[in-house]
């Protein structure tokens, strides 16, 4: 089986890869959002602590 | 604050029975609603307008309209009952009556049930009475009209009760009106299905009783649980 045949999925390529592609996209976006949120939270903490030390 | 609510709150009617309390709350809310009749009318006019828009949207063929009628009337009733939900608790919340009610020795669930019933009489019952007239616009048969009325009589109180939970949860929030619809509409789907299904059963010659009895069962369920849930939601919102 060559790769062209594999991606064609017997004519169902659009549906199969549309499903898995969007799944991958959603996972990546969610992971990015979650990491971003954590980074923001940590950054806020750092700002808060630095402000506290200066006082 | 009306004199009736003063007597309710100070609890000077000692030995007030459950039904006495219930009727007191209903009477009070009805009096308040009658002083602002415009609010009641707006809901009714909205209902009539939405239903009348459908034939303009899909065309005047009577066959199609007859088929659509139950769904259209029910969806319009659903939307109209969402519209009036904001008024259920907001006035009492703003003038502090609600807080007094919570401190009252009487059960908050019963007070809430009274408020819901009063709200239904003001906003739900007019829809039920108006529905047959609108049904005629859609060329519904006499039998179908009776079933429509019966279904709405059983169903609209459920909508008010489920809606009360949403109204209590969103009390005092900005943008509460849209939020209430978002929360409550998915929960109302069974009512819509059975209500519209009953009318449709008439035209297909199936038994109407099963659908109406399911609606009745939902009504009993809602009557038992939603006042209590609403009371809990109010406590959360008022903290």
């Amino acid at each position: 089986m060559n790769w062209g045949e594999f991606f064609a999925m017997k004519g169902y390529g659009l549906y199969v890869w549309g499903s898995f592609g969007v799944a991958l996209l959603i996972f990546i976006v969610e992971i990015a959002l979650v990491r971003h949120r954590r980074a923001i939270a940590l950054q806020q903490l750092r700002l808060l602590r630095d402000a506290g030390e200066e006082e | 604050m009306s004199p009736m609510s003063v007597s309710l709150i100070s609890g000077n009617k000692n030995g007030l029975s459950l039904f006495g309390l219930l009727s007191l709350v209903i009477r009070r809310d009805m009096v308040l609603a009658m002083r602002r009749r415009a609010d009641v009318l707006t809901t009714l006019i909205f209902f009539v307008m939405v239903v009348s828009l459908f034939p303009l949207g899909v065309g005047p063929e009577l066959d199609m309209l007859r088929k659509m009628a139950p769904g259209v009337v029910w969806v319009a009733a659903l939307l109209a009952s969402m519209l009036s939900l904001g008024r259920l608790f907001s006035a009492d919340y703003l003038d502090g009556t609600l807080e007094q009610m919570m401190l009252a020795p009487q059960s908050l669930s019963v007070l809430v049930l009274g408020k819901i019933l009063a709200h239904w009489m003001v906003s739900g019952l007019p829809l039920v009475l108006m529905a047959p007239v609108l049904g005629l616009q859609f060329d519904m048969s006499a039998q179908a009209l009776w079933v429509l009325i019966a279904g709405l009589l059983l169903g609209t109180p459920i909508l008010s009760m489920i809606g009360a939970v949403g109204a209590a949860l969103t009390l005092g929030l900005r943008g509460g009106g849209v939020l209430v619809s978002l929360l409550v509409l998915p929960l109302c789907i069974p009512v819509l299905i059975f209500g519209a299904g009953a009318v449709e059963a008439v035209s297909t010659g199936m038994s109407v009783a099963s659908q109406l009895s399911l609606l009745g069962a939902l009504l009993v369920l809602a009557m038992v649980f939603t006042p209590w849930v609403t009371a809990q939601a109010l406590r959360i919102s008022m903290e």
């Binding site: 169902y12 199969v16 969007v22 799944a23 990491r35 949120r37 954590r38 903490l45 | 949860l169 959360i236």
Partner: protein
């Protein structure tokens, strides 16, 4: 603990995808299109279980007033909503070649859509209340009411669907090949671990955001 779940999930995804595409044989009736099942079924299962778990945590938070369980509930909601959406999306892409329509008003599809609405309602209510304690409690009550309603909605929709004959779709319950089963369970497990990893990371952020004034948070090594 999060990296463990994340890495295990990634490995299982790799294995699961390999089985799904290279080991599992072609289905006789549905040709290659059935391979959507390997992502569709886990997404549907997770969207339902996450709702139950969310409602359970929410109830715990409401009854015992434990803050962590409320935070868990609000951390689970976005992941659950995404899985519900994914389930609908892949279902549509599976339905088009198999049934000839992107969407049919089947009981399962409709219930899944309503589940998505319930998730969105939970998130919207939580987001629109500024006080986090009130938001937790109000959203918890909504989640519980929703979970009581889900079976009622499911049966009413199912009943409604049988009433409207013509759109009844039966999922072909043919016996699955062993490799298909293995692929599906691997993918399911991978999705579970993914959901756990993402939720735990999110709940850690929520804790940091809410407890930013507590001393122990400031002493965290990561914050330095």
């Amino acid at each position: 603990m999060v990296p463990w779940f994340a890495w295990l999930s990634a490995v299982l995804f790799a294995v699961g995808l390999y089985i799904s595409f290279f080991v599992a044989p072609m289905d006789a009736q549905q040709s290659e299109a059935y391979r959507i099942m390997f992502i569709h079924v886990p997404a549907s299962i997770l969207s339902m279980f996450i709702y139950l778990i969310m409602a359970g945590y929410a109830a715990l938070g409401l009854i015992f007033n434990t803050r962590l369980s409320s935070m868990m509930a609000s951390a689970l909601a976005p992941t659950g909503a995404l899985f519900a959406f994914l389930s609908l999306w892949t279902g549509a892409l599976w339905g088009k070649p198999m049934w000839g329509a992107w969407w049919v008003w089947d009981a399962r599809l409709t219930s899944e859509l309503i589940l998505l609405f319930l998730y969105l309602g939970f998130i919207a209510l939580h987001a629109s209340i500024d006080d986090p304690r009130r938001a937790d409690r109000a959203a918890a009550l909504l989640a519980i009411v929703g979970s009581v309603n889900v079976p009622i909605i499911y049966f009413s929709v199912k009943w409604w669907n049988t009433l409207h004959q013509g759109s009844t779709i039966k999922f072909t319950g043919t016996s699955m090949h062993v490799a298909m089963q293995q692929g599906m369970y691997t993918m399911l497990l991978a999705c579970w671990l993914y959901a756990i990893a993402v939720t735990l990371t999110r709940v850690r952020s929520i804790i940091l955001e809410r407890e930013r004034n507590a001393q122990w948070v400031l002493e965290l090594s990561e914050a330095k």
